[in-house]
């Protein structure tokens, strides 16, 4: 378990990065989503895995075996923020496809191109 989660995080980062670099806008969004998941898992791994839930019963004073609650709160916030942005990105994809009729990111060069010189 201690080795499996970091390896999984690495695989997700690699998959996310590879998807991010694809030509299709849909795959780029998928890459963003997968990288978001990978980052959340990374936060989880960083907080020292434990099998005990982050709860203190009556009379218990041992803090070393329970899970750390702060990263769990961070991950929840990150998941929710990521979800909101994914929703926006998917609607943006739909509108961009409707207006440009193409899913190919290499066709989106109008905003990067140099206008004609006046001389």
């Amino acid at each position: 378990m201690d080795l499996l989660l970091p390896i999984l995080t690495g695989i997700l980062y690699a998959a996310g990065l590879s998807l991010l670099l694809h030509r299709s806008f849909m795959k780029m969004i998928l890459g963003i989503i997968v990288m978001g998941h990978a980052t959340n898992l990374f936060l989880f791994v960083v907080s020292r895995l434990s099998r005990e839930p982050a709860l203190l019963g009556e009379g218990e004073a041992s803090l070393s075996t329970i899970a750390d609650p702060v990263p769990q709160a961070l991950i929840l916030t990150a998941i929710v923020i990521g979800f909101g942005i994914q929703a926006f990105a998917i609607v943006l994809l739909k509108r961009a496809y409707q207006s440009k009729k193409t899913d190919d990111l290499d066709d989106l060069t109008r905003t990067d191109s140099l206008d004609e010189a006046s001389i």
């Binding site: 980052t39 989106l108 206008d115 006046s118």
Partner: protein, 501 residues
């Protein structure tokens, strides 16, 4: 305590009131201007309070630091909050006349206030994760502003902006995770105490690099700035003025905060990277701006070039260099917003942004040409305008620390700035209007243009007068910058104010 919360909560409540009057634009305008003026007043009061009583901090929910969420205001934060409120007011004054009614009806004022709310929160955050959440608020508000109206170019620019900024957020989150893993806390004052005690300096440097890349993307430094000229020129001018003048400077603010408070133990590594990035940013931004042939794109790449100066001040890491950076931030927010608004007025009168199709504005609207000259000379660094004082502070700091190469690059970039500003002046204001031969239309006299477009010219006039004032009587502002940088270099002031020792 109230002083700290008022500049934060006023935009939020005004935004909520604006939502209550959804689709009633006239009422929204009144509510907005009352709220924005109140925000500016409260921000000014916060700045006055901090300059009298030192760093102000409150703990949300009364949970003691470092366990709870802290809001901290020092001189730098308070000053930038004042500039942000001023920018919002000026841009909204321009937008309510020029922006088309459809955009205004569908929530422009609300989102502008949410953007101001996010910016104020990011400037007041004392906890890294809270800072991340405020940056997400800024990011989503900017998404909405960039795509409001949904033209083809806007959607294309938004795709590029969304993609790279979401990547930046993921990198930031990874950095936050690493910081928590090695230090066990996310409160900035507590981190300032704990990070120097960590033996694995390689891990600390890794975290520093995560933050340089993540916030570097937000601040548009080289080589992370390519989203800026692709996405900023696409929305209407009012929106570009707001985001272009303000958001990258918030990224620079966060870099200054992190690299003067937290990551100061390996200056040879982290601040060297910052100096090299600054040098490249200045040169590449300047060359890029000179190569463009569109008014907006030149100004967008000019943003990138000026960011290089601010990062340079941070990289040199002396009191005078940071003062130069801070003065530059204040001056640049004002001048950039002014320049973008002037480009909006030119668009109103000539209906184009392309340099090929523009011309003759000096003959038609000499007042606008005068405002452009003041702003452009301020940007270039001609005495006695504001840019001169900023560059003077930075160059003095550079010579004091014997960083000769980068100081010469900084002074040389002033020449690049002059080059592209002269290009704009020649193409837009000086040369004959190419449309005169084709349309043969009579342009209304300047007096009639001003009468019809009064609210377009008012913020530009206010901005130009402020630039002249700050340039000719810079003493208060330079003292402010020096005091703010003293506060930054002296970490204990911040740590004691937050942790109540």
């Amino acid at each position: 305590m109230v002083n700290l919360l008022l500049p934060l909560l006023t935009p939020l409540f005004t935004a909520i009131f604006c939502i209550l009057f959804w689709q009633k634009v006239k009422v929204q305008k009144v509510v907005f201007f009352i709220g924005a003026t109140l925000s500016l007043y409260f921000a000014g009061r916060l700045l006055w309070y901090v300059s009298q009583h030192g760093i102000l901090s409150i703990q949300i929910g009364n949970w003691a630091a470092p366990f709870g969420i802290t809001l901290v205001a020092d001189l730098l934060s308070a000053g930038i909050i004042v500039m942000a409120s001023l920018t919002t007011l000026l841009v909204a004054c321009f937008a309510q006349q020029q922006l088309d009614s459809l955009r205004m009806r569908f929530g422009f004022f609300t989102i502008l206030l949410f953007l101001l709310f996010g910016v104020t929160g990011a400037l007041l955050a004392g906890d890294i994760f809270n800072l991340y959440v405020w940056f997400e608020i800024i990011m989503v508000s900017t998404f909405v502003l960039l795509t409001l109206g949904g033209t083809k170019d806007q959607l294309e620019g938004a795709i590029k902006y969304v993609g790279i900024n979401f990547l930046a957020s993921s990198i930031l989150l990874a950095g936050i995770g690493t910081v928590y893993g090695i230090a066990g806390t996310l409160n900035m004052a507590d981190l300032a105490l704990k990070i120097p005690e960590i033996e694995h300096s390689a891990l600390v440097n890794l975290t520093a690099v995560f933050f340089i890349v993540g916030f570097g993307i937000k601040a548009a430094v080289f080589p992370l700035y390519f989203w800026l000229p692709a996405s900023y020129p696409t929305p209407p001018v009012a929106i570009t003025s707001m985001v272009g003048g303000l958001l990258t400077k918030i990224g620079v603010y966060v870099l200054i905060r992190f690299f003067t408070l937290i990551f100061t133990n390996d200056i040879g590594f982290t601040h060297e990277i910052l100096i090299v990035m600054a040098g490249f940013t200045m040169v590449v931004g300047g060359l890029g701006a000179f190569a463009q042939n569109d008014f907006h794109k030149i100004l967008s790449l000019s943003i990138v070039s000026q960011i290089g100066y601010m990062i340079l001040g941070l990289g040199l890491f002396t009191s005078m260099a940071l003062a130069g950076s801070i003065f530059f931030m204040v001056h640049n927010i004002l001048v950039k917003t002014n320049l973008f608004l002037i480009s909006g007025i030119v668009h109103s009168s000539n209906n184009s942004f392309k340099l090929k199709e523009l011309g003759g504005v000096y003959k038609r609207l000499p007042i606008v040409a005068l405002c452009f000259l003041i702003s452009a000379f301020a940007l270039t660094g001609l005495p006695p305008l504001t840019g001169f004082w900023g560059k003077f502070l930075l160059a003095t700091a550079g010579f004091e620390t014997e960083a000769y190469i980068i100081t010469f690059i900084a002074i040389g970039t002033g020449l690049f700035t002059l080059l592209y500003m002269t290009k704009i002046w020649n193409e837009v204001f000086w040369k004959k209007d190419p449309a005169i031969e084709t349309t043969k239309e009579q342009f209304p006299s300047q007096f009639h243009f001003i009468k019809d477009n009064f609210f377009l010219l008012l913020p530009v006039a206010v901005g130009s007068v402020l630039i002249l004032y700050i340039g000719i009587f810079p003493e208060i502002f330079i003292n402010y910058a020096l005091n703010a940088s003293e506060q930054l270099m002296n970490k204990d002031l911040y740590i004691n104010a937050v942790l109540n020792r």
